[in-house]
Symmetry: C2
DNA sequence: GCTTGACCTCGAGTTAACTCTAAGGTTTAC
DNA sequence: GTAAACCTTAGAGTTAACTCGAGGTCAAGC
């Protein structure tokens, strides 16, 4: 079974060894085992778990909340409902983020258009009396 | 022409007055005028500009970079190219974020499914020997 | 005229998430 | 057998983006 040193794991996950140690200190990696002399040994499954952690982080979930999830995982089947609820809530969050991002994209595309025409005209004045809409 | 006090502007933008003063301190609001005694007076156009600022912020752009954009706006037509380029770059960033978010969503939906079936079975063991794929 | 409340500035404090340093132990390479 | 390249820990430092407190100004209402 392949294992990874902390720096190999870091490279695999696009993180630094510092960050992994920090996660461990914050209680996110109770499953990572050690060699007799204390060196962390990451298994493939640990890398997988870290990918879930990164996924949760990318939804804006703070580390302390991710720790709750990790704790639930350690507690076993009695916490299945909590974990399910958490992912449902994350799903709603991500859906909202997608909506937001779509609106952001629209505004940015509008601005690209705005500056494209201004650039062609050599001046922003070309948009001086664009409709009095929400945003020009 | 309608104007807004700092707290009205804050409410309009879902920010706090503290945050607006902080933005001002960071040079993001050079266009906001003052009454003779120093009170900020936000015009409708200022609220609009702040919405652009919030839009840029939501793409993960740091305040210092947003300031560059504000500075360019003050400098006039000679900076049209920079501003256009900036929005093109933002567009690319947002496209990448959308891709990321889609992947995140897939993983989360997978996990929702995973916990739904585990919950129905009463135990996570139901997934014990799921394929040895990337992530179960 | 005096209190109340909203505004102001300046500078300090907070928080999250790293990021690094110091001091030391272990393993590998020649 | 020693140097390089890892690893460990505890704890300090950094950064961004707020967030707040103290002390002051000013206009409105009683």
């Amino acid at each position: 079974m392949k294992t990874y040193s902390i720096s190999e794991a870091a490279k695999e996950l696009n993180l630094t060894a510092y960050t992994l140690r920090y996660y461990d200190k914050e209680g996110l990696l109770p499953f990572v085992e050690r060699t007799p002399n204390g060196t962390r040994l990451f298994k493939a499954a640990d890398i997988g778990a870290l990918k879930i952690i990164e996924c949760l982080k990318s939804t804006g979930m703070p580390i302390k909340e991710i720790k709750h999830f990790i704790d639930w995982c350690s507690e076993g089947d009695s916490t299945l409902q909590q974990r399910y609820d958490m992912f449902l809530e994350r799903k709603a969050t991500v859906e909202a983020q997608m909506e937001e991002l779509k609106k952001t994209m629209e505004l940015i595309e509008h601005k690209c258009q705005y500056y494209k025409t201004a650039l062609e005209a050599g001046t922003e004045d070309i948009h001086k009396d664009d409709k009095i809409e929400i945003m020009s």
